[in-house]
Amino acid sequence: MTDKKTKSNWYQFTKGLIKENPTLVTLLGMCPTLAVTTMAVNGIGMGLATTFVLVCSNIVISLLKNVIPKAVRLPSFIVIIAGFVTLIGFILQRYVPSLYSALGVFLTLITVNCIILGRAEAFASKNKVLPSALDGLGMGLGFTLSLFTMGSVREILGAGSWLGMKIPGISSEPMLIFIMPAGGFFVLGCIIALVNKLANRRPPKEISCEGCPSASICGGSCDTCEKEGGGK
């Protein structure tokens, strides 16, 4: 349709870090962001595992983009992603078992992480291998960054430590609520509000729909997206 200017590879890599950070800007991948960020180190581990799956699946899907028939596009992507998730599961179970038990079921749930399917559908299936790989890497590292931030805040306030090191002053009386689910929601809300403020952005449109891979199936954008999310 429109003549897309070929963006440089460097741009593909850096856009995922801040400008189009999957969790804080396009609001995808909420589930692991809330669930595994009770400790900063778990956040990093999850982020890196997701990055691995993201990069590998982007590369494979980009390589096969002309081979996979349109009708079975989504199931094929999902199977490829599930394959890499199982693979990283094997690797973690063998070499980093502590992270494997800390992530628990959410390692398997990387398969349905909106970010991975979203990038496969929106980018990797339409672009060459190298930009796809860099896009995956950037998005993954941006995701890791936001997980690390969330994890750090929750761990410092909720457990009085950071990356395992006890922090004097807070470690004797931490605010347990931040480790609980309620605290997770709260911290994420505040971080997103902060990001909005720093970017001087209008309140974002309805969540997730835009970046959701099913958006094209819904027919462009879900009609719930038309209504402004809270703005007057």
């Binding site: 778990n42 996979i68 800390a102 609980m180």
Partner: protein
């Protein structure tokens, strides 16, 4: 016709390729540790009792090397040094199913000597508090007669604490019921 055959065929091919690659990866990375004294287990034994000649009790009648469990649910293996030290490796439910994978050392009086965590899948920062010395110290000396309710649970880590106590109870009961069998084998 071709249009309706190609898509499912392509999907099937992709599935088969992915499964095949995973089967190869699985065989390369999977290590069967049943009945084998891993470094982790050894470190646990030495952490509780110090250096020694530890071996897993194996069922001599079975074909493959199966650890003896005395038919107790959750017990993975029983380790002994042949003289007077015994350790029980078990998996107990805390807040999460199978969240506590422990090595419990039992001394010659039938009481808990020490506890080593092989794996802990409890809520980080909350359930993982059962690893703290302040709680573990209360469990040392736990024997078959100790009432579980005499040890307080950690606040906000009720299920994890209950799991720990249940595990200790299981270990000491197994020891007192099978003391002769454990030390006669060698």
């Amino acid at each position: 016709m071709k249009n309706s055959i190609m898509p499912p065929l392509a999907l099937t091919v992709i599935c088969i390729v992915v499964s095949g690659l995973l089967a190869i990866a699985y065989n390369k990375t999977y290590v069967d540790t049943t009945g084998v004294m891993t470094d982790e287990l050894k470190a646990g034994c030495e952490d509780i009792f110090g250096e020694g000649d530890y071996e897993i009790l194996l069922d001599s009648d079975a074909e493959e090397k199966t650890p003896v469990t005395f038919d107790t649910d959750g017990v993975v293996s029983v380790i002994t040094d042949g003289k007077d030290k015994c350790l029980v490796e078990l998996v107990e439910d805390g807040y999460s199913k199978g969240g506590l994978h422990l090595l419990i050392g039992i001394n010659s009086e039938g009481a808990v000597e020490g506890i080593y965590f092989l794996e802990i899948g409890e809520t980080p920062g909350v359930g993982t508090k059962v690893q703290e010395a302040s709680f573990l110290d209360k469990l040392i000396g736990f024997d078959a007669e100790t009432d579980e309710n005499s040890v307080d649970n950690i606040t906000s880590a009720t299920y994890s604490s209950k799991g720990m106590k249940a595990a200790c109870k299981k270990a000491v009961t197994l020891y007192s019921q099978n003391k002769e069998a454990i030390f006669s084998d060698r």
